[in-house]
Amino acid sequence: MRRFLKHPRAGILTAAAGLILMGIGIYRGEMSVVMAKAINICLECIGIG
């Protein structure tokens, strides 16, 4: 593990893994939850809800 972390390609491989996770999330339909939250005023975020 330590050797992997020191490898110059560790960042690229991790970024690729991130893209795969994003793909899984999009496939599961998580983007619609993000969208629904982001297009409506988040009352909790602004301190009202």
Binding site: G25, E30, A38, C45, G47, G49
Partner: protein, 281 residues
């Protein structure tokens, strides 16, 4: 040396300001007191940027993560976790230093003169771990387990802590909407107190929110040692003069660890090094 440092700082601030403008350029929102509702809101922005800011074009990754984790249907946010992993693995905390609007606010506040600026203090190192606790407790565990009868969790970090939401969303929306002004209560007051404390502390301490509170910085910090964009110190060139350590406002010693968890890649050490020993990987 000071001149070199300042040149780099203002170059960085210009990039920060440009990015903040680009990601918050729905200007009609500031006039009408509404928020952008277009398709770009599907996408997360890399920095801490409240999606209830009237100008925001994208989604805040921390808010989005809590929304998905707190949703009864999902409970794990692959999309947002993947996004953070992707951005973190490429850039690490470069995002904090260059692309976070709330980082820019703190940077500018720290330029306000104050008789005694505080660099570090007793307990500083331990307090830096607080952001990891906040990430785990308020962003992950509470939205996951503290749920209503429908199984929905609230965005507890946004609700109880985030001063960026108050500054970018709360203040403009409440000022622009009479109906919202009528709905404010103790929570709004609490969040404004937190914002005020953050503002005052930012004048005295460099980026206190980033150092001690920000869960997004906590996530990106984990990727700092492996990110594609990172620093290395040429040990043959380094004279051990200590200028880099002295100039770092995040109290990192680049010679000891050029990719420390707290390094926000502002580049001050790189510019200050008299022998150009600090380089990009």
């Amino acid at each position: 040396m000071d001149k070199r440092k300042h040149t780099n700082e203002w170059k960085r601030h210009r990039v920060q300001a440009l990015w903040a403008f680009l990601t918050n350029s729905y200007l009609a929102g500031f006039v009408q007191g509404k928020i952008y509702r277009g398709k770009l809101k599907n996408l997360c922005v890399p920095g801490l940027n409240c999606y209830s800011c009237p100008g925001a074009l994208g989604a805040c990754p921390i808010g989005a993560m809590q929304a998905v984790i707190g949703n009864w249907n999902f409970k794990f946010a692959f999309y947002v976790a993947g996004f953070l992993m992707f951005v973190g693995a490429l850039c690490g905390r470069f995002i904090c230093g260059w692309l976070c609007p709330f980082g820019l606010v703190q940077d500018l506040l720290h330029k306000i003169p104050f008789p005694k600026k505080i660099g570090t203090f007793r307990g500083d190192k331990a307090l830096r771990k607080l952001k990891y606790v906040i990430l785990v407790v308020f962003v992950i565990l509470m939205p996951l387990f503290v749920v209503d009868i429908l199984g929905q969790g609230a965005p507890f970090f946004c609700k109880l802590i985030c001063p960026a939401g108050t500054l970018e969303g709360g203040l403009p929306l409440v000022l622009l909407n009479q109906s919202m002004r009528g709905a404010i209560g103790w929570l709004y007051a609490w969040k404004n107190v937190l914002l005020l404390v953050t503002v005052v502390l930012s004048v005295i301490i460099y980026r206190p929110f980033c150092k001690y509170i920000c869960p997004l910085g906590a996530v990106y910090s984990v990727f700092n040692p492996i990110s594609v964009f990172r620093y290395r110190v040429d040990k043959e060139k380094c004279t051990g003069c200590g200028v880099c350590k002295k100039i770092c406002q995040m109290q990192v010693d680049p010679v000891e660890n050029a990719n420390h968890l707290e390094c926000i890649r502002c580049g001050a050490c790189k510019k200050a090094c008299p022998v150009d020993a600090i380089r990009r990987f």
